[in-house]
Amino acid sequence: MSMEPYNDAVRRRFENPRHAGDPDARYPAAVIAEVSESDAGCRVRLAAEMDGNEIHRLRFRVFGCPHLIAAAEELCSRFQGKAPQALQDVPVAQLMELLEVPVEKTGRMLLLEDAAHSLARAILAGC
């Protein structure tokens, strides 16, 4: 078993989070969802730049550990170009396996899932 707390997949996304930040001002119809939890003080904000009924780009901001940041980055890259309904089916187990997320951080991954669900609801409510 590795003594390294973060694998390469986490490090790459942590060091170069291409989707971190706020939605582009050119997309005034951007939809934002934010969730937080009090135990570890984590916070996830997802924003969707919409192109018609399609997600043009997802952006994120995360107050949390490297695993959560890497998971948010991966989620944003996976749902680009998809319909908003797809956000209701976040592959949490796959993300945890890819990023080798320790089991005690499962709650943080579920927070990310909650944010995705919340974003999907907000987008669909506005359609």
Binding site: E4, Y6, N7, D8, R11, F14, P17, A20, G21, E34, A40, G41, C42, R43, R45, R61, V62, F63, G64, C65, P66, I69
Partner: protein, 393 residues
């Protein structure tokens, strides 16, 4: 498997442990090499007597560092054992007189957990909060001492913030009330002047690896007064005045003695060096928005600089700082993921305490390493500010 080369670490974690002084390593290697001094110092044959002489020489060297006499020093495995021996040993020996003890929540786990264990055994412990600077006022201690109080334990230099307690005032207060005073000096011994011929301290713990000596060896000072007697925790041979039985580790003790002798000689120069490094580091990072020093600047050991920054999560900050070797909260606590209990006791909220980074440096730290730390810290905070939401609440 990760085949990327590991980046060269830049070590600024001297409060966790210091690197071994090469001169100390030479002394230890001489013991361990062919023809070295290896025999059991308790043996009365010629090889044993040579070991005994080396042990007593080291005891003298440590005693000289602390301005005490050699027979007041008991060799142990380190400060944790010394703390346990002092606190549990004194509490149990004096239990027939009373079962009230006093300490602070900002103590190292080696002390705090020992008191917690004594609480479970029926002792009553008063945990005195520090002021916002991390200091304990003698008047607060005075008010907490009762007729049945037997022991007060307050550390000299805090391992997270570097805050220096006023041992003289605390010790005088204890003496006035006939209460034993134990001090965990793991962070100060060998680094700050400690004169036990002047200080009203009854029991004092120290360890070699915090001042360029080997890990696994420390000492407990037990004042040469009948009322300072303590009860041993272990039973076996009659070594170390029957307070700490077991065969003495000659090479460790010889290294400890050598480290003490070097520290005595270099203390002023080392102190001036870390003071310069501290100023350089703080000057380099103090302009980072939202940064604050933790602990009073006026009463802080300059080998430690503890800073917090708003809006940044601690675990991510640690990764972003790599390959800088620093501590997040207490080194001994860094696996738990909890924010530092010491910083929370100083009034920091959970998030701010979690963002705390302890830089600690010493004799072998170079200015170029401080400059690397400055650049790395500024870049890490900037990187994370691009990821983390601005705090609105």
């Amino acid at each position: 498997m990760n085949d990327k080369p590991t980046p060269h670490p830049v070590y600024l974690d001297d409060a966790a442990t210091t690197r071994l002084d090469p001169l100390v390593a030479d002394v230890m290697c001489a013991c361990l090499s062919e023809g070295g001094t290896f025999a059991n110092p308790a043996s009365i044959h010629i090889a044993g007597r040579a070991s005994h002489a080396l042990v007593e020489r080291a005891r003298r060297q440590v005693a000289d560092l602390l301005h005490t006499i050699p027979r007041t020093l008991i060799f142990t495995s380190g400060a944790t054992e010394s703390d346990n021996l002092a606190i549990a040993g004194a509490a149990h020996f004096r239990a027939y007189r009373g079962r009230h003890l006093i300490t602070m929540p900002t103590e190292h786990k080696a002390v705090a957990d020992c008191f917690a264990a004594l609480e479970r055994q029926g002792f009553e412990v008063s945990w005195l909060d520090p002021d916002r600077d991390g200091l304990l006022a003698a008047s607060v201690l005075e008010a907490a001492i009762r007729k049945d109080t037997q022991l007060v334990s307050v550390m000299h230099v805090n391992n997270e913030t570097g805050v220096i307690q006023d041992l003289h005032a605390i010790g005088e207060c204890c003496r006035r009330h006939g209460v034993l005073f134990h001090c965990d000096a793991a962070q100060s011994a060998g680094k700050l002047p400690i004169d036990l011929s002047e200080l009203p301290v009854d029991l004092l713990s120290l360890t070699a690896h915090k001042f360029y000596g080997p890990q696994g060896i420390g000492a407990l000072y037990v004042a040469d007064r009948p009322e300072c007697h303590i009860q041993p925790l272990m039973h076996g041979g009659g070594q170390e005045r029957r307070l700490r039985p077991g065969t003495l580790a000659v090479h460790q003790i010889a290294g400890f003695g050598a480290a003490a002798a070097i520290a005595r000689e270099r203390q002023s120069a080392d102190l001036a060096h870390v003071r310069r490094l501290n100023e350089r580091l703080w000057s380099g990072i103090k302009a980072v928005p939202g940064i604050a020093r933790n602990g009073t600047r006026a009463h802080t050991f300059p080998g430690i600089l503890n800073v917090s920054v708003t809006g940044i999560e601690g675990e991510s900050l640690m990764l972003a700082l790599s390959p800088l070797c620093v501590a997040s909260g207490s080194a001994c606590n860094s696996q738990s993921g909890e924010s530092s209990y010491v910083l929370r006791a100083l009034g920091l909220d959970d998030r701010l305490a979690q963002s705390a980074i302890r830089f600690s440096f010493g004799r072998f730290t170079q200015e170029s390493e401080i400059d690397f730390a400055i650049a790395r810290y500024i870049a890490a905070v900037s990187h994370l500010r691009g990821i983390m939401p601005a705090l609105t609440a």
